[in-house]
């Protein structure tokens, strides 16, 4: 067995896993508060990447600062979208809210993806590196961009966990996810947290988009696959569990990368690595819908 090859693949898998986890955490957060699956999440990730690109190219910001600008921009945009499109979800007169949430976010995804083709062009764009160059330990070679992506991603998710566990706003968010009615009885305005959760999810996706851009470059349909991966992760980690999503994200990144690396037929490995995740998704939905570490209070339907 070639250990160098294994370690490179392992390291790459971890980096991709962190990126997946950042997207999935947003999906799970939005699900736990708004009770909808956001089909447009991958497209918010795409917009975040493009936003960072244009902040770098047009305003001359350094890449890391551009990432933060992009996070703020997507936070605001997501809140606007949520206010415009998702408010019927909170109204008692709306029937079949699941259906409404599904179709609206699905339509939003369709809109954003196609408007992105017009606004940014169909050709891939590549922003400058965070830190050019590669890291070399013996035969293990990793580009610095991948290290930055993983490091910043881990830091952001640690920040989110700290926020959710240790701050009053974070605890309020958790309270709303457990029971909207009880939360409003103790004086939390659930509506405010709907917007807030949607915004935070979008900001994390934007950061993921900005971090990935120098590695894989930007394209209008770049959000489709990560979006599906995010669902796999969210189902694996348990709908509504942030920690579960982080762990499952890294696991999926590893599993897929190693699957691709060691699949016997290399020409098909990449295509089937995506199908591999989807098979896991379907098996979990059938046999263990609460995921590996699912929180039981979240309803199945």
């Amino acid at each position: 067995m070639n250990w160098d090859y294994f370690f490179v693949q392992f390291a790459n898998g971890a980096v991709i896993g962190v990126i997946y986890a950042m997207i999935a955490v947003g999906v799970t957060l939005i699900f736990s508060i708004l009770k909808i699956v956001n089909f447009a999440h991958g497209d918010l990730y795409m917009l975040g990447g493009y936003c960072a690109y244009y902040v770098i190219e047009l305003l001359g910001f350094p890449p890391l600062a551009a990432m933060f600008v992009s996070m703020v921009a997507l936070f605001v945009l997501a809140i606007m979208l949520e206010r415009l499109m998702l408010t019927p979800l909170y109204s008692d007169t709306t029937e079949r809210k699941d259906e409404y949430g599904l179709i609206v976010t699905f339509g939003l995804a369709y809109f954003l993806r196609n408007i992105a083709v017009i606004a940014f062009g169909p050709f891939p764009l590549k922003p400058p590196s965070f830190i050019p160059g590669v890291l070399r330990i013996d035969n293990l070679i990793l580009t610095n961009d991948r290290l930055v992506a993983a490091g910043v991603g881990i830091a952001l998710m640690a920040g989110l966990l700290y926020f959710m566990r240790r701050t009053i706003w974070g605890q309020a968010l958790d309270a709303v996810s457990q029971s909207r009615d009880s939360a409003s009885i103790v004086g939390i305005n659930p509506r405010r947290f709907n917007s807030f959760a949607f915004g935070i999810g979008a900001a994390l996706a934007a950061a993921a988009g900005a971090l990935v851009a120098p590695i894989f470059s930007l394209a209008p349909d770049m959000g489709v696959l990560p979006n599906i991966h995010a669902y796999v992760i969210v189902i694996l980690g348990g709908m509504g569990s942030v920690t579960g999503s982080i762990i499952a994200g890294v696991m999926l990144g590893e599993a897929e990368n190693l699957f691709t690396a060691y699949f016997p037929d290399p020409t098909r490995a990449f295509a089937y690595s995506n199908a591999f995740g989807l098979v896991i998704l379907m098996l979990f939905l059938v046999f263990r819908p609460q995921g590996l570490f699912g929180r039981r209070h979240l309803r199945m339907e």
Partner: protein
């Protein structure tokens, strides 16, 4: 009285006859658009049966069209069976696989069902695209024409029309029957339906099987109309297009869903000058429809049309017609 109540049916019948008689006046291009519109009409109506009537928001409907298309095309290629038999095989295949999917996701609803079917749809697409020694992959599989040596598209127009009419007839009878009532009861409240004696599991599986079968029928027709099929006929962009069509038309009724498919398909062609802008435009229309007119843009027109000839203040049609068959 009953003669006047039947007025909408007579108008529809007359419109159908006119469409069939004057179809040869269409030039080849618009006839092609009409045929494709009817292909989407079958898909939109069967999807509306699933998503609108039963509330099963499946995202694998286009994947079933692809399964129907590839099943038919491959069986014909391997065994040389006649094309109609291949299409029937595609329909049967879709019914079986659709019933299986319906069975597997019996306990899922809402977002979970959507994610599950999304996963299934992508697996189908990836498999078809990757196993290129069988399916010719992204290069596309060449298929035999349904009507060999047809000089014009007119025979295809008639075939598509007949298939659409057949689908609407079967699904319309189903929706109006006692079973249709059960299906709507499942959509409104599964537990309440079960408590009232509806065999929820059986009807969910049945709805999946029937809707998938019609998707397979549409796919089979498409495969032998367009001489080449590619895996992208079942991808998520096509699914999004189907959702746009059905929701804009009105996803709760079969005729409005078909109307949505036909109107959107014609508009997409008519607005070709606007190139890329058409797609986000329809995305916006979809969002506005969901936000402000959730029943669909064609539903009010359809309801008004159905009530033509009815005495003012009379009962809406349909209520007395749910006598239906044995469950």
């Amino acid at each position: 009285m009953s003669g006047v109540r039947q007025l909408p049916a007579y108008i529809l019948g007359a419109a159908a006859v006119l469409a069939l008689v004057f179809a040869d006046q269409l030039n080849s291009y618009w006839m092609h658009v009409a045929i494709i519109a009817m292909y989407y009409g079958i898909l939109a109506s069967s999807w509306s049966l699933l998503a609108g009537s039963v509330g099963l928001f499946s995202l694998s409907h286009m994947a079933f069209a692809a399964i129907g298309a590839y099943t038919s095309a491959l069986l014909i290629k391997w065994f040389g069976i006649p094309i109609p038999l291949g299409m029937v095989a595609g329909v049967v295949m879709c019914c079986v696989v659709g019933g299986l999917i319906g069975w597997v996701c019996l306990r899922m609803s809402g977002p979970y069902l959507a994610i599950f079917t999304l996963g299934f749809s992508e697996i189908v697409r990836i498999t078809i695209a990757t196993e290129d020694d069988v399916t010719a992959g992204m290069a596309g599989l060449h298929t035999d024409p349904l009507i060999a040596g047809a000089a014009t598209r007119l025979p295809y127009f008639y075939t598509a029309f007949a298939l659409l009419a057949l689908s609407l007839l079967v699904m319309g009878l189903l929706v109006r029957s006692r079973w249709g009532l059960f299906l709507r009861a499942i959509r409104e409240d599964e537990q309440a339906a079960a408590a009232s004696g509806v065999a929820v599991a059986r009807f969910r599986i049945l709805a999946f099987a029937i809707a998938s079968g019609f998707a397979g029928l549409a796919g089979g027709f498409y495969a032998h109309y367009i001489p080449i099929i590619t895996p992208s006929m079942g991808d998520l962009n096509e699914m999004a297009k189907l959702v746009v069509m059905t929701v804009i038309g009105g996803m709760e009724r079969l005729p409005t869903a078909v109307g949505g498919a036909i109107v959107v398909e014609f508009l997409l062609e008519e607005l070709r000058d606007y190139g890329q802008w058409r797609l986000p435009l329809f995305g916006i229309i979809l969002l506005l429809t969901m936000r402000f007119a959730r029943n669909g843009l064609l539903t009010p027109i359809w309801l008004r049309f159905v009530r033509l000839g009815e005495a003012p203040g009379g009962a809406p049609p349909g209520i007395g017609e749910e006598k239906g068959s044995e469950a």
